[in-house]
């Protein structure tokens, strides 16, 4: 009798237990590398923040094809561009639902009001929401959108028009970037009414493939698959869990024990053992990044009275051909790098494959230095980044190798390093000599390499060579102002030739990106932008 009573009780308890835990469902645990600062993508700039919000909870008007840089429709199904390239009219997707959670129940589907709220909040410093919850939008500003968007109008519930001040060929790409994630105007209104505006950064509501469920700082972020997603075939996981694990070695051990199924940023030493593990997969992709040495070309470097030898083209050519890139790739990148020739990665459209690197030739370099009147033992400074970046795993070692290479041709390079923030600030101010730096692409557009890193407008910004060369700059500006892709390709190719001749930099390598995962994970694609997206991904047995 007792046995009969106990069994249903036990079964009931079991059912209760399974009601809240994730056992039995389709789960994917991602060992991420840190806690996000928040969940409002517009406020942030790093992949850690975007993975936890933009890539899961939100959509944008346009979006990048998974694993690529091609732009495809997102919340906008199509768009028309005016002949003068200054007006973009977006036709919005109908019937897209915002997430329903215990803190928000939407009364209407996505429409033009949401687009207006999202962009006006970033554009207008006096926007009502921003008054209550003041914040900056660094990526939006950095891409120049605050200055270039003249206005946004709602033409009808499902049509919006953006008017620009200047033609920007990369505008559609910029809208696909994480910071341009579409927020719900209705949710924002609710938050204002409840006096909880800060919740926009802590309890996100979007239209994306995963619904935010819970965040425990430094421990985990939980999402549930969005059953009402407008592209249902993209949601193949019931529970997506981010296990926050800051240490790279620990992340790899967790992966080996199947405590997580996908992780990121393996240490170079872990790559070979992980590749040998039959339970794991290790897809790799040539990085959409570039590690390079920028030569400050100013006549006098800020803070120094001596003439700057790098102002002379022959000196820059000599330094360039004295660098043994193969050796650097073998030692610094431990083989996980691809030799760089141009100021953009080969996967970037408009990359000119006809350009060749100057051959490694210390003897010729010495001769060039002699021609330039540079005496043996001339000193320059070589700035080395204090941190590891995706495009450069060990800048200090790279600096030591460059120092040795240049010593062979009679140039004495003094290695200088500062704390990272200070490093960037001082070099933006022009205090750097030769400088180890790099870039990861933002939006898949060539201007994000040539214009952002070597344009005259970037002299106070990311143009660390302080190189403003009119023939080059004209080509880049012209290319940015046209929407004819074939013409743009031609202009960027010409610009790449000029850059190669003028040597404001020595491209070193594009680092290979590895993404270790369990063999059971299907259809994961490595993002060229270093983001981690789980829509379209499934987990097998």
């Amino acid at each position: 009798m007792l046995k009969h009573a106990v069994i249903p009780l036990l079964v009931g308890a079991g059912l209760l237990a399974s009601a809240s835990s994730a056992f039995g469902a389709s789960n994917l645990v991602f060992c991420s590398e840190g806690s996000p600062a928040g969940f409002d993508p517009g406020q942030y700039t790093t992949g850690t923040d975007f993975d936890a919000s933009a890539e899961t909870v939100f959509n944008r008007l346009t979006q990048f094809e998974r694993g690529g840089t091609t732009v495809i429709p997102g919340l906008a199904t199509s768009w028309d561009v005016s002949d003068d390239g200054l007006t973009y009219t977006f036709h919005l997707r109908e019937g897209v639902k915002f997430h329903t959670t215990d803190y928000f129940k939407p009364s209407r589907p996505f429409n033009a009001d949401d687009v207006l709220f999202t962009f006006n909040r970033m554009l207008d410093k006096d926007h009502p929401f921003r008054k209550v919850y003041p914040t900056e939008f660094p990526y939006f500003t950095d891409m120049g959108m605050d200055k270039n968007i003249a206005g946004i109008e709602k033409l009808d519930a499902l049509t919006v028009r953006f008017t620009l001040n200047q033609v920007d060929a990369a505008f559609i790409q910029n809208l696909a970037m994480s910071f341009a994630s579409i927020q719900s105007a209705e949710y924002a209104e609710q938050l204002l009414e409840q006096g909880k505006a800060t919740d926009i950064n802590q309890k996100p509501i979007g239209t994306g493939p995963f619904v935010f469920s819970k965040y425990q700082k430094d421990a985990q972020i939980r999402f549930k698959g969005n059953k009402d997603y407008w592209k249902p075939e993209d949601v193949k996981i019931d529970n997506l869990i981010f296990a926050i694990s800051t240490d790279a070695s620990v992340r790899m051990q967790k992966l080996k024990k199947n405590e997580c199924q996908v992780t990121l940023f393996p240490r170079p030493a872990d790559i070979e053992p992980l590749k040998k593990d039959t339970k794991l997969r290790m897809p790799e992709q040539a990085g959409y990044n570039l590690g390079y040495v920028a030569y400050n070309v100013m006549d006098k470097i800020k803070g120094s009275d001596a003439p700057n030898p790098m102002a002379q083209l022959k000196v820059r050519q000599a330094l360039d051909m004295a660098v043994n890139k193969q050796q650097i790739i073998a030692s610094v990148y431990q083989g996980a790098g691809q030799l760089a020739v141009n100021a953009m990665p080969p996967t970037q459209w408009s990359y000119d494959t006809t350009i060749k690197d100057a051959a490694y030739d210390p003897e010729k370099a010495k001769a060039l230095l002699k021609e330039a009147g540079v005496k043996e033992g001339t000193e320059i400074t070589l700035w080395a980044m204090p941190v590891q970046r995706p495009y450069n795993p060990n800048a200090k070692l790279m600096a030591e190798m460059l120092q040795a290479d240049w010593a062979k041709v009679g140039i004495k390079a003094k290695i200088v390093s500062y704390e990272w923030g200070e490093y960037i600030k001082r070099s933006k101010g022009g205090e750097n000599g030769a400088m180890i730096i790099g870039w990861s692409g933002d939006n898949g557009d060539p201007d994000n390499w040539l214009g952002t890193l070597f344009g005259c407008d970037a002299l106070a910004g990311n143009n660390f060579s302080k190189w403003c060369h009119k023939p080059f700059d004209d080509l880049v500006k012209q290319a940015k102002a046209t929407s004819d892709q074939a013409k743009r390709i031609e202009l960027y190719k010409q610009a790449q030739h000029i850059l190669k001749e003028q040597v404001p930099m020595t491209p070193i390598a594009h680092s290979t990106v590895y993404q270790p995962m369990s063999a059971s994970v299907k259809d994961f694609k490595i993002s060229p932008f270093g983001l981690n997206s789980f829509y379209g991904v499934s987990v097998g047995k």
Partner: protein, 336 residues
Amino acid sequence: MLSFIARRLGLLIPTFFGITLLTFALIRLIPGDPVEVMMGERRLDPEMHAQAMERLGLNKPLPAQYLDYVGKLAQGDLGESLRTRESVWSEFLTLFPATVELGLAALLFAGVLGLLAGVIAALKRGSLFDHGVMGISLAGYSMPIFWWGLILIMFFSVSLGWTPVSGRIDLLYDIEPKTGFMLIDTLLSDEEGSFKDAVMHLILPAIVLGTIPLAVIARMTRSSMLEVLREDYIRTARAKGLSPVRVVFIHGLRNALIPVLTVFGLQVGTLLAGAVLTETIFSWPGIGKWLIEAIGARDYPVVQNGILLIACLVILVNFVVDILYGLANPRIRHQR
């Protein structure tokens, strides 16, 4: 006794202000400011930088910023994190139980094993066991925590598969944080097997964090026991014919414990310092990891107030130990 407590309390006030001044100054001595870090290396527009500095009140002169900080402290306001914009107090409360849970487990491990090993080593002075315990404890004391943690993970978690690699619980359990103490929360939840899973997650981090205190406690217990065992009252107890267990544990250990207790108090500081590394290795969401990240992000309010809260805790524990010690040992009480 009251004047003793008053004297001790009087010392706390300047200590408290010293800490506020020190943390305020130290974090600002590190180059770079929170806005630079927040906006990323590439997106630092000077106009936006100035606007953010103003919003955060960081454009004021340093003395004014310090006065603001102390003024708010006096009202019990610890401010909000510059990075996450959540209140420092609520972040502390969320993360602190994890550190306490880990610290208590480590202390339990170190206390029980350390006392036992110390007592036995003292009783068997000069034996192989004694040399073994002392040798191992010296090694334990000099062990780099990071390396020790990774070795244990590779051996027990990956090779043998006995314990999980990191975290507080298998994430397939969705445990509601009611108290913040995972062992209690799993007991309160309906999730079958979650308590056992939480215990398994606690074992390795507790061993790693408890290793140094274990070594200190074992060595301290041994030397204190050796001293006590030489005392006349032990000889008297033995002469009275008391059982060896009674002599050692009631008459010996009880007296030997006084200096060991002080060491326990001091170990709270060591534990909190060790927690920074242990929490990083084991992805343990506690205040150690929180502070490390805050320093990286130049999150001034978190660093200042987080350190202040921890310092207060260490002061408080040592204050209690001082009082207890004073109660136990009248000679301390009467010192001027």
